[in-house]
């Protein structure tokens, strides 16, 4: 039988030795600090717990993205030539600007935390606004990048092999060896016959043929598609690639290049979703800051919000070299 120890188990505990009635001392603290929740003893206790909670959440985010990083590694290992070649289709300058924007926004976020800690409300609000603007800037540049690529059908899946500007719809999906998928239709009339999607479950040609056969130099595009692509009008694009359907007529493009874009959109897209979520968080922090919620006593939300924003930045710092820089 062991003896009871009665020391407190957390540091920074400011109250005295009288613990006769938990309620008495408890309510004094809780009256002094209206933000202090009833199950925590002191603000410091609450702050520590919140930070631990946020770090754990960051760990889950790392593992969440980790799966995609593993997928990237597996695909890169399988198709090294695809990755080293296709990264040329990404605009390094735009990506670089985005990187700087995010890093700067991390700086303004860290400054915001500092201002909150030192009771400087104006500085806090300005820095939060700057961070928010950085996020917007990131998303705007991303919008330009994406729209440019989608315009050229530099996208995931079999759409990669359909030339853009095909308004006449002449080059149907049927021409491809694998029927592409766009939507899933439901069959509400007779649910017993389970919904018949426009997915093609099995391709018309035996799909188990070990894939490297390309029926045209540029992967899975058919000769007809390429010929038609040659004849399409040009648009404004990166001057070094003067043709809108460059990737379809680019003889040096390896087979299976759609794989690069699939993982590119998956990772940067998921990252973009997290940036949007971060914008919501920053906006909420801004609202509370204007309302005057934060002080040197209580700045926990700014601190943990900042932690989240830093990891969003950190993930981009890994994405940028993996997609844009290494060839």
């Amino acid at each position: 039988m062991t003896t009871l120890q009665s020391q407190p188990n957390h540091a920074g505990d400011a109250h005295g030795a009288d613990g006769a009635h938990d309620g008495a001392h408890g309510s004094a603290e809780h009256a002094k600090y209206p933000f202090l929740q009833h199950h925590f003893d002191t603000p410091h206790h609450q702050f520590d717990s919140a930070k631990l909670g946020m770090w754990l959440f960051l760990a889950t985010e790392v593992l969440f993205f980790g799966g995609l990083f593993v997928a990237y590694a597996v695909l890169r290992n399988r198709f090294p030539e695809v990755f080293s070649y296709s990264s040329h289709y990404l605009d390094t300058i735009m990506g670089g600007i985005n990187t700087c924007v995010l890093i700067l926004s991390s700086l303004t976020m860290a400054l915001a935390v500092r201002f909150a800690q030192t009771n400087r409300k104006t500085g806090l609000i300005i820095c939060l606004i700057l961070t928010f603007m950085g996020a917007i800037g990131f998303m705007v540049i991303k919008y330009f990048e994406y729209s440019h690529k989608i315009h050229d059908n530099l996208v995931w899946g079999t759409t990669f092999y359909v030339p853009p500007h095909d308004a006449a719809g002449e080059l149907e999906a049927k021409e491809l060896s694998v029927a592409p998928t766009t939507s899933i239709t439901l069959n509400p009339v007779n649910p017993a016959v389970f919904a018949v999607p426009t997915l093609a479950p099995t391709p018309a040609v035996d799909a188990s043929a070990i894939k490297q056969a390309s029926r045209a130099p540029a992967g899975m595009a058919t000769p007809t598609q390429m010929a038609k692509a040659e004849g399409l009008p040009t648009g404004e694009h990166d001057p070094s690639f003067a043709h809108p359907a460059t990737h379809l007529v680019d003889k040096k493009m390896p087979a299976n290049s759609h794989v690069f874009f699939a993982i590119y959109y998956a990772m940067t897209g998921l990252h973009g979703v997290h940036v949007l979520a971060g914008m919501v968080v920053i906006a909420w922090l801004l609202k509370r800051a204007i309302r005057g919620d934060f002080s040197s006593d209580y700045f926990t939300p700014v601190d943990v919000g900042g932690l989240y924003w830093h990891i969003v930045d950190l993930i981009w710092i890994f994405l940028f070299p993996l997609f844009y820089l290494i060839h």
């Binding site: 029927a179 999607p197 093609a200 099995t202 040609v205 799909a207 188990s208």
Partner: protein, 372 residues
Amino acid sequence: MNIASTIFSNLLAGDPREGRTLWLPPQDSNLAVNSDLMFWWINIICYFFFIGIVIALVILVVKYRMKKDRPFRTDGPLHHLPLETTWAVVPLLIVIFIFYFGFRDYLNFMTPPKNSYEIAVTAQKWGWLFKYPNGATSDDLYVPTGRPVKLSMRSSDVLHCCYIPDFRVKKDLVPGRYSYLWFQTDDVTPEGWGHNLFCAEYCGTGHSNMNRKVYALAQPEFDAWLTAQSQWLDKIPEEELYFRAGPKLYARCQQCHSLDGTKGIGPSWKGLWARVSGGEGGDGKFVDGTGYQSQIGAGKQYQTPEDYIRSSILNPGEHVVAGYANAMPSFKGQLNDKGIDAVIGFMKHMDEFDTKGKYLKEVPPAPKVSMK
């Protein structure tokens, strides 16, 4: 349904062989011997521990029941390092032993001998095709006894798994790559009876109906079968194709296409020929809205109804009948022209078969071809 009577009739109609134990089917391959030995040893160890634990529990529970109206005994030990170490280390050593022997035998499973007789296997929803070195194909697996056999396997669509319980072999079939397994069986299978071959990776509606049989023949009989099998279609006179070969080939199609009008995964073949040849039954439609007759005929995409059927077998996604999914796999490479002719003939003469595909008239004695 009278469950009791079906159980007993099933039991009696079962396995003609001996050697089945409580746990395992008879050992019918070289790999089964060591696999079973390992299984038996693990079982012995498990019985030992399990019975020991149960007996100990019973003794403990009886001996240390709480005595009423007496204070709790408090002399129970809290730890005992030597004992705890022993019962951690000893099981660890046991499992390491088990791992080692399992691993060693597993290497055997993974290493087919160089002179193995190789058979190519293709699985698709929901059937198997076994292809032999001389080009013969078969729906069931025939193997020669007394020599190692290697199955080189691929799937055309989703994951499948080739499992032969009596041989204790199993391997997944993955689309996009080849996998293999090997075995050697020395016992000729009794007449009319075969080992079970199951698909052991869930693949949809017909997963439990992909069962096939494995027939083991002595080398001379196997050679004879192989020769006959590679020629069986060729040896059939043109006019007899539809009733000699049709039903057998239909076995591959019946998972999805009924003969009695029931709508399945694919359209029923009842009245099919009439529909595609513009006879009674009206004009059918494809999913793109066009009618049969707009696609079939002189100058159209399919010159003749035979052309259309042939295209449906080799390139089924080209025109899908309205109301059905594009779910049919291609049979390119599995059905040659004669086979296709047999199927077309089967469709043309559907009225000569019952709803299960059995020929209703009497089959004339076969010339030189023996078929199983």
